[in-house]
């Protein structure tokens, strides 16, 4: 579910809606009989349900016709740009080996994106520093373990993982996206559905790299 505080206009609209609803119910309760209060609540609930149905219909319609997009290839014509998206698997040996293999290929350029895993509650309250620190620490360790001559780079993101990928598609312009997860959903890890969501949105090949926890971890 998208946070109502995701952007300034959304937060403003949400607060305005809450204020109007609370005010209407409070006025009805203070000045009118009980049936008026109940009627106001019924109107509010119906309005919210109607809005929800409308949004679902818009979403379903959008999903019916998937439109994927991608910018033109950037860099030299023979360069292959690979975007690796990972968080809790960043320091797994299997992941590091995969990055080394990809970055060793001729004219390959690898970029690692580590979206911070922020729960809906934490995003609502803005408590994202801990998740950002975790992502930063994992990415730094991964970059330290990969030989520098391979030229791998990376960055963290505080945005929703899919939006973080969208930003990276616009700035890094990958020719291929690889999303690394644990397979099953783990707390503090990327959603295993992320790859299928990315496949629906971007006109570049998107593959999954499932990494099991190493025994030493």
């Amino acid at each position: 579910m998208r946070s109502p505080f995701h952007s300034e206009p959304e937060a403003f609209n949400f607060l305005l809606l809450v204020t109007v609803v609370v005010l209407a119910i409070a006025l009805a309760a203070a000045l009118g009989p009980t049936w008026l209060t109940l009627a106001v609540i019924a109107v509010v609930v119906s309005g919210l349900a109607l809005r929800r149905v409308r949004m679902q219909m818009v979403k379903r319609r959008t999903l019916e016709l998937e439109l994927k997009s991608a910018p033109a290839h950037a860099g030299p014509a023979d360069e292959r740009r690979i975007l690796l998206v990972a968080n809790d698997t960043l320091n797994e040996e299997a992941f590091i080996r995969e990055v080394e293999t990809l970055a060793s290929a001729h004219k390959a350029r690898v970029f690692m994106l580590a979206p911070a895993i922020v729960s809906a509650g934490a995003r609502l309250t803005g408590d994202i520093d801990h998740a950002l620190e975790e992502a930063r620490a994992r990415l730094t360790e991964a970059l330290d373990r990969i030989p520098s001559h391979l030229g791998a780079a990376g960055r963290i993101s505080d945005a929703d993982p899919l939006e973080a990928i969208e930003d990276a598609v616009a700035t890094f312009v990958p020719d291929q996206i690889i999303i690394s997860t644990r397979g099953g959903h783990t707390s503090g890890g990327l959603d295993p559905k992320l790859a299928s969501l990315a496949r629906k949105r971007f006109a570049v090949p998107v593959s999954e790299l499932t990494v099991e926890p190493s025994l030493s971890a």
């Binding site: 019916e64 016709l65 997009s69 991608a70 033109a72 014509a77 020719d175 006109a203 570049v204």
Partner: protein
């Protein structure tokens, strides 16, 4: 550049070729049922309207393909359309297409099956020709 292809992998292969040729791409798998494409409805399709060129691989055999191509010609007449399709051999379908004037001016065809490289070459030729035409007009 808008690529319409019912097969996801084939659409991505064409998109990849076009991206490496320097074009930003959008890929649409096309509608499953008639009337599903926003281009045929009141909303229209901003991607199709704004495209420099549309590559349609939806084919003439299915009603949805014919519907989208007809909508592309009537709603976006200024957008060049490259149709990648097998020659129509069925006489009934031929008659139907003739009646609907599916291939008016601004519509180019490439015989299917065509490789992504052939499609990219056709796109480059079409857009190159248009640029030359515009330059000579200026």
């Amino acid at each position: 550049m808008l690529v319409e292809h019912p097969d996801e992998a084939a659409g991505l292969a064409i998109a990849s070729g076009l991206r490496f040729a320097g074009y930003a791409v959008a890929v649409c798998s096309g509608p499953q049922e008639p009337g599903q494409c926003p281009l045929c409805g009141i909303d229209g399709c901003a991607t199709a309207h704004d495209a420099d060129l549309v590559v349609s691989c939806l084919g003439f055999e299915r009603e949805v393909g014919r519907e989208v191509m007809e909508a592309l010609r009537t709603r976006c007449p200024d957008v060049p359309l490259l149709i990648v399709a097998a020659p129509v051999t069925d006489p009934d379908l031929r008659q139907l297409l003739d009646g609907r004037e599916m291939l008016p001016d601004g519509c180019y065809t490439l015989r299917a099956p065509a490789t992504p490289e052939e499609i990219v070459a056709a796109v480059q030729q079409l857009l190159g020709d248009q640029t030359e035409e515009l330059s000579s007009r200026a």
